[in-house]
């Protein structure tokens, strides 16, 4: 379903599509590196060193790398959405897809929390 009297390629629609695709990209880019154990930029706060690893040890932190991956995926998805410029924006489907990606992340991270409690 599409909606609105304005043209499909209006600035509002282009921005909304990019925003929704960006959220989806961010959620996917944030989830996959950890779930698939992909190497990410990791910071060692004790050794004061940055390294690329899939399995941080001790105090090594992969959070910065995960956020970088997510931002890159969000930017790529938002840019990709521009290729669809001119097509009608299916607002409910795009919104539901973006929120579903976020919900998938939440389910994954909650499952890890609950697993650690056992």
């Amino acid at each position: 379903m599409t909606e609105g009297p304005r043209g499909a390629g209006s600035d509002g629609d282009v921005a909304l599509r990019a925003a929704l695709w960006g959220v989806s990209g961010f959620a996917i880019g944030y989830l996959l590196p950890g779930a698939l154990r992909l190497p990410v930029l990791t910071y060692d706060p004790i050794g004061h060193a940055a390294l690329l690893t899939a399995a941080p040890r001790g105090a090594q932190m992969r959070y910065y790398g995960d956020v970088l991956w997510a931002c890159a995926a969000a930017a790529a998805a938002a840019l990709l959405s521009r290729a669809l410029r001119g097509r009608p924006l299916d607002v409910p489907v795009a919104t539901a897809a973006a929120l579903s990606c976020v919900a998938l992340d939440l389910a994954w991270f909650l499952s890890r929390l609950l697993a650690s409690l056992q």
Partner: protein
């Protein structure tokens, strides 16, 4: 494994306590602005239009959340070494996992609120479009609240910069 108290200096550790206080104050601002943004987005969706307040909070909320994220990034190494490795991993691993969840909630909240702000400022009009903005901002505000409550709980247990 390196004994955390014996580990050398950690980046920003010398200013961890004041940074934590600023993190708390900006956190209140982030919760407030994200909540207002969501409330005005829902009001706008009900009316089918945007308001001046919605546009104002579409700038304030992502700015507060971005500042909060940067402060969190700065505090994180000290937390990781002195709080997590030095205490929580041994005494309360579930709390450490809870803090991990808080980090994820905060990152996703920032993405949701930023996306809602972009759509608002670009002039998303029409019933479904304003409801899309309301859904994004409300979801973001919910995650911000959850992250804030978890952050307060973990800080009450063992604050960064404390003994």
């Amino acid at each position: 494994m390196i004994d955390p108290p014996a580990a050398g200096p950690v980046v920003f550790e010398s200013v961890a306590r004041p940074l934590l206080l600023v993190h708390a104050v900006v956190g209140f601002a982030a919760v407030g602005t994200a909540t207002h943004f969501a409330a005005y987005a829902v009001i706008g969706a009900l009316r089918g239009s945007t308001t001046a307040q919605l546009r104002r909070f579409s700038a304030l909320a992502p700015a507060a959340l971005a500042a909060q994220a940067l402060l969190g990034f700065a505090l994180y190494p000290t937390y990781r070494v002195r709080v997590r490795l030095g205490d929580l991993d041994r005494t309360a691993p579930a709390v450490a996992q809870l803090f991990d969840l808080k980090e994820h909630l905060a990152a996703l909240a920032l993405a949701l609120v930023a996306a809602a702000a972009v759509a608002t400022r670009a002039g998303a009009k029409g019933n479904l479009r304003t409801w899309a903005v309301a859904a994004l901002s409300s979801s973001g505000a919910t995650l911000v609240w959850a992250a804030a409550i978890i952050g307060l709980y973990v800080t009450a247990r063992h604050p960064v910069g404390g003994p």
